[in-house]
Structures are given as C-alpha cells and as structure tokens.
Symmetry: C2
Subunit: 113 residues, 2 copies
C-alpha cells in the first residue's frame, strides 16, 4: 500500500475519466467504485464520498451513466449500480483522447532552450 495520494487539483477534470474507465468493464455501486479504485492503484486513489456521489450524479445527469437501485446480496442497504451508456462510451473515448493530447502538450514544453 502506498500512502501518497494525488494533489486534489490533479483530479479536477480527470475524475470523470477515471469513473468512466472503472465502469467500462462492469457496472458497480458507489462504495465498490471507491474500493476498486484503491485496489487497482495500491491505495493511490482514495476517493471521498463527498467527491464521488456528486460526480456520479453529474455523469448520470449528462446521460453518460445510468443508475439503478438493487438489493444488496449480503444483507446491507440497497445499492445503486451505475453502468456506462452508449453516450458514456463515446464520452470515454473523447476523454481518453483529450488526456493523451494533454500529456503530449506537457511533454512538448520540455527540453527547449
């Protein structure tokens, strides 16, 4: 487990991409997303509920995700599972491209006199 988490500002504008990446393969509910993000990044990503839920609502309002409540399979409160819509899949492609473009732009700044 790594302790370091990213500067909060790095997430701005990238949280959408991150959520779409995680939900691309399979639908998940809120806390599951937080756990998955932690596991897959060795604890680097550690989203707070106060960041996650508004973001999920935002993406749902944009039509990129659709959420549906479902009873827990282990006896807890109901869970809201989010899955990517077709629109969300297209958005993911755009976000990936934008991320690549941004990275290339940063690199192109280096090594100049």
């Amino acid at each position: 487990m790594e302790q370091l988490s990213p500067d909060a500002n790095l997430l701005k504008g990238n949280l959408d991409l991150i959520l779409l990446e995680i939900l691309e393969a399979q639908p998940m509910y809120g806390l599951e997303i937080i756990n998955e993000a932690q596991t897959r990044t060795d604890g680097y990503f550690d989203f707070k509920e106060g960041s996650l839920y508004p973001a999920l609502h935002r993406l749902e309002a944009q039509g990129w995700l659709s959420g549906a409540f479902q009873d827990s399979d282990s006896g807890g409160p109901r869970r809201k599972y989010y899955r990517l819509t077709d629109k969300g899949n297209r958005a993911l492609e755009r976000k990936r491209a934008e991320w690549q473009r941004f990275g290339r732009a940063i690199e192109s700044l280096r090594g100049r006199p």
Copy 2:
C-alpha cells in the same frame, strides 16, 4: 494551428507544472510565456492573462520563482522576468514525478473485468 484547447479543469493543478517546465530552460516574462506555450503546443495551450498572472504571483510567493522587472529591448513597457529558484527546480522534479505517478494510476484502471 490546432483549434482545440484543453478542458479548463485539466489545467487545474497542472498549471504550476506547466509554468515550471517552460521557465526551466530560461527566464521569461508574462506574455512571452503565453506565446511560448502556444507555439510549443501548436496553439493547444492558450493561457489567459487572468490565469497566468495570479499563478506567477502564487509561485513567486511560494519561492519557486523569482521575478525581476527589466526594460523592454524593443521599446515597450517594462517586463517582469521570472526565473526558477533552486526551490523551484526541486518543486519541478516533484511535480514531474507526481504527474508520472498519476498517469500510471489512470492506466492501471484499464482493462479489468
């Protein structure tokens, strides 16, 4: 020249890194930084003065940049040249490492079932 500029939110938290990258090789003044960023990224980065100047002041207050006024060599108003301090160089290294780490974390989210 490319028209597309990055989503404003992508810049949040990365503008510091960008400015340090640009100023690493040589000192520059405000508008020169804007022009250089445009040129080096084929117009992708197009910083507004309202973003740039507060950022420069912030970095100067943190001790990462030091600024000094200097008369223009082409007869305009005086220019404020910013150069990286030693502290700024160390900050640049940290920001680069953080950027790499963040990029790796994003990639590690992909291709999972």
